[in-house]
């Protein structure tokens, strides 16, 4: 979406303002996780740290979230091609995968406890809960957004000429998928 357009009687440069605002929002989310990552590294370098046994479930939830990104993209492409039925299918599958992911993360916390890492205890373990918890909080926000788009899709309001919400939702979704991959790798490599 480049070139100039009029929104509310105003010259708009480069990008749709709402999409632009969305990107800025993502920047602030990135800052939260960067600051926590550096807190993690600083804390680790101070010592008094324990080794974490990561829940095996994390491997499965990782697959699930990657799949959800694929189905999200399927919905996005269907919207571009005005395939209304496939938009609904794509979004529906994405929503279910997302819920499966959250349930998986929750059970992974159970595994963490079994492995002896409680939320209250050595910060090495607490950080894992913080990272995963915050990620899920953001994902919950994304699911609400997804449902809004889904409702719009049922009202025939998502199609190739009305893509802003769909695009924003897709961006957010891929972002959260990528964020999880980053967090998982970060935790494994800094264990």
């Amino acid at each position: 979406m480049t070139g100039e357009m009029e929104v509310k009687n105003n010259q708009v440069r480069s990008m749709h303002p709402q999409k632009f605002a969305m990107w800025l929002f993502l920047v602030s989310v990135v800052m939260i996780f960067i600051s926590l990552s550096s807190a993690y590294i600083v804390k680790k370098s101070v010592g008094n740290w324990v080794y974490i046994d990561f829940p095996s479930l994390f491997q499965y939830t990782t697959v699930v979230i990657v799949l959800s990104s694929i189905s999200m993209h399927f919905a996005y492409i269907s919207a571009k091609r005005n395939n209304i039925k496939n938009i609904r299918i794509g979004l529906g599958i994405t929503a279910m995968l997302a819920i499966a992911f959250i349930v998986g993360q929750f059970n992974a916390w159970g595994q963490l406890v079994e492995n002896g890492h409680h939320f209250v205890g050595n910060p090495a373990g607490s950080f894992v809960y913080i990272f995963t918890g915050l990620h899920v909080v953001h994902l919950a926000g994304a699911i609400i957004f997804l449902f809004i788009v889904l409702v719009k899709a049922f009202k025939y309001k998502v199609h190739s000429k009305s893509m802003v919400r769909m695009e924003m939702c897709t961006t957010f979704w891929h972002f959260l998928g990528g964020l999880w991959l980053y967090l998982y790798l970060f935790l494994i490599f800094n264990n």
Binding site: K8, V12, M31, I32, S35, S38, A39, P123
Partner: protein
């Protein structure tokens, strides 16, 4: 323009359906408004409210510091149990007072009150937009701030008092509710309030950046933006990058306080008993906090500097000296402010080598700051200065910025800071360079844009009296604090009477307190002037300060949408004051070069060929 865009336009038009033709109801006009001008006023009024409270609190603790023997029995009706049976101020309440004073002033007055007011008010008006990119988000931003204010305000009346760990709320003190009263419920509410505040700042900041980048009117390139807008822009970016970090810091603190985690806690004994927490580090909090905290001080000062640039150029009737250098230094300050945070932590036992690195980085930041100061002075130099109250306050700001900035260079040297850290010298430093300078910027802005905000003029004489009393008063308050600091007075101490060596400074402390009371009293002149003028001030002319920026092309009482008819186009930079050959001593940004052949420079004459004059009236 693709088809998608056209459709989206319709969508937007539906989303933001504001009726300009119907009378708005009271609620949608004054309370849940999406008009950036009204939201700005909401921020301003709330900011003023907080400034009175924050100032009032400081008067109470200045009484204690200046007159430690005095009976404060007469404050009992207001403070109740916080006055001890002997008629003294409760020592823990003293800590709560300084904490609340700092929090309120830094965040609620000089961040929300300043950026919230002027970014909101000026960004659309000065770049030629009908409103912010999202009026709804803008409204949310105010109401988050309001909610945050309510929580903080209620915490003042808790039985255990408001937060008491200093405005930086360092753990472990702040993390252990049993440590002092001020770490109990008051601290919880402080954290909740700050979380809401951060949400408000982010919503506002995202909107400011989006608006500036996307909604500029025709011809308003970045190289023609007024410096106010440049300053608000960089401020918003700083906020966007640093407030989330404060949120992380606060989040971990909340978990330590309420859920028993040990991010910041390790091996602590309270009343001889060991706490279970091990493995945490309080220094971690300081890193996170100051990574926000240092950019935050620039979030506080940059808008004030932007406002000042505009006012000084207008009232010196000269182009701002070094426009590009000003932008460069704003950007430079913005960047550097992220790499100096550890100068607040020289005494945390950091590696001396690391200390030197941060010393050097800190001293580098003095360079862009000094460039700005020089540019103000050179702009004033040989100008036809018009001493409006706004101009006086702007010049006052420059004075404070210089005298406070100089002491920053002392503090930036780790070797000196080891002596000066946590003394009144630091207090003097930041009250001049940040507190007073930014406060003066805010007042200057109010005096200058009052005619646009309320369509009326403030009283000039009262404004000048207000200026002189404040200016002299502030120096009387903060200058002596340097000596007190060098003498070794630590900050945040309830009383110094039990130290024999300090008694010779008793008189100086009393003087500071008297000056503080007078300065505070002088602010009521402003309050009277402000509220009286809203209703009874002289009606403002269209362009009272003969200014170039485009907010003065709107009607006296601009409606929602700012301009009637099309938005004016922009043809030149905002600082064509006293241009040789020109008929007037100012040429507004909306005047094309084609209309001013008498004053065009060579390259400007070239530009006349490319100007698109459709819709531009020739005014003579």
């Amino acid at each position: 323009m693709s088809v998608t865009d056209i459709h989206l336009q319709e969508d937007l038009a539906h989303d933001d359906h504001h009726d300009e033709h119907h009378e708005q109801g009271f609620v949608s006009k004054y309370i849940f408004t999406t008009d950036h001008k009204m939201i700005a006023k909401q921020f301003l009024i709330t900011g003023i409210f907080w400034a009175i409270i924050g100032g009032g609190l400081s008067i109470i603790f200045r009484l204690q510091l200046g007159f430690p023997e005095m009976s404060l029995e007469w404050l009992r009706p207001m403070l109740g149990q916080w006055i001890t049976p002997e008629g003294k101020l409760d020592a823990e309440f003293y800590l709560a007072l300084v904490t609340m004073h700092g929090t309120i002033m830094v965040f609620f007055v000089l961040t929300a009150g300043l950026s919230g007011t002027f970014s909101n008010f000026l960004i659309p008006l000065q770049i030629g937009a009908r409103d912010m990119a999202s009026g709804f988000m803008n409204m949310l931003s105010y109401w988050f701030f309001f909610a945050s204010s309510v929580v903080m305000f209620i915490s003042l009346f808790l039985e255990t008092g408001p937060a008491g760990g200093g405005w930086t709320v360092y753990p472990p003190l702040s993390a252990l509710p049993q440590a002092i009263k001020g770490s109990a419920a008051g601290m919880t509410m402080w954290l909740v309030s700050m979380a809401l505040f951060i949400a408000s700042s982010l919503l506002g900041g995202i909107n400011y950046i989006t608006t500036i980048i996307n909604l500029r009117t025709h011809g308003m390139s970045f190289s023609r933006l007024p410096l106010t807008i440049w300053a608000f822009f960089v401020t918003a970016i700083l906020g966007l990058l640093s407030f989330p970090v404060l949120l992380s810091a606060a989040l971990l603190l909340i978990f330590d306080r309420s859920f028993g985690t040990s991010f910041y806690l390790s091996e602590i004994f309270i009343a001889g008993e060991a706490l279970p927490n091990v493995g945490g580090s309080p220094i971690l909090y300081q890193h996170l906090f100051w990574f926000l905290g240092h950019p935050e001080v620039y979030i506080v000062i940059l808008p004030a500097l932007g406002i000042t640039s505009e006012i000084i150029a207008t009232n010196a009737r000269k182009p701002i000296f070094g426009y590009k250098a000003m932008i460069g230094s704003i950007l430079g300050i913005g960047f550097l402010s992220f790499v100096v945070w550890a100068h607040h932590m020289f005494v945390t036992g950091m590696n001396p080598f690391l200390g030197s690195v941060f010393t050097i980085l800190t001293l580098i930041i003095a360079v862009p700051s000094a460039i700005k100061a020089f540019n103000y002075i050179t702009t004033l130099w040989k100008g036809n200065i018009v001493f409006t109250p706004a101009m006086l306050f702007s010049i006052g700001l420059v004075s404070f910025f210089i005298s406070g900035g100089l002491t920053g260079i002392f503090l930036g040297n780790s070797v000196l800071d080891i002596n000066l850290h946590d003394t009144y010298f630091v207090v003097a430093h930041f009250h001049l360079v940040m507190g007073s300078a930014s406060f003066f910027g805010m007042l200057a802005g109010v005096y200058h844009w009052f005619p646009k905000m309320f369509g009326r003029m403030m009283d000039d004489k009262l404004g000048k009296v207000h200026f002189w009393l404040s200016f002299i008063g502030i120096y009387l308050v903060f200058f002596p604090l340097h000596y007190i600091g060098i003498a070794g007075f630590p900050r945040r101490y309830y009383s110094f009477t039990s130290f024999e060596t300090f008694s010779i400074y008793g008189d100086l402390n009393a003087l500071v307190s008297i000056a503080a009371i007078l300065t505070f009293a002088a602010q009521f002149i402003f309050l009277f002037n402000f509220f009286y003028s809203i209703f009874r001030g002289k009606l403002a002319p269209a362009n009272p300060w003969k200014s170039n920026t485009m907010e003065w092309t709107t009607p006296r009482f601009p409606g929602h949408g700012n301009w009637v008819g099309a938005i004016p186009k922009i043809f030149r930079w905002p600082y064509d004051y006293s241009k040789p050959g020109a008929k007037d001593d100012f040429i507004p940004q909306t005047v094309p070069y084609s209309h001013t052949p008498e004053s065009n420079l060579e390259h400007e004459e070239e530009l006349t060929k490319e100007e698109d004059l459709t819709g531009v009236e020739k005014v003579n």
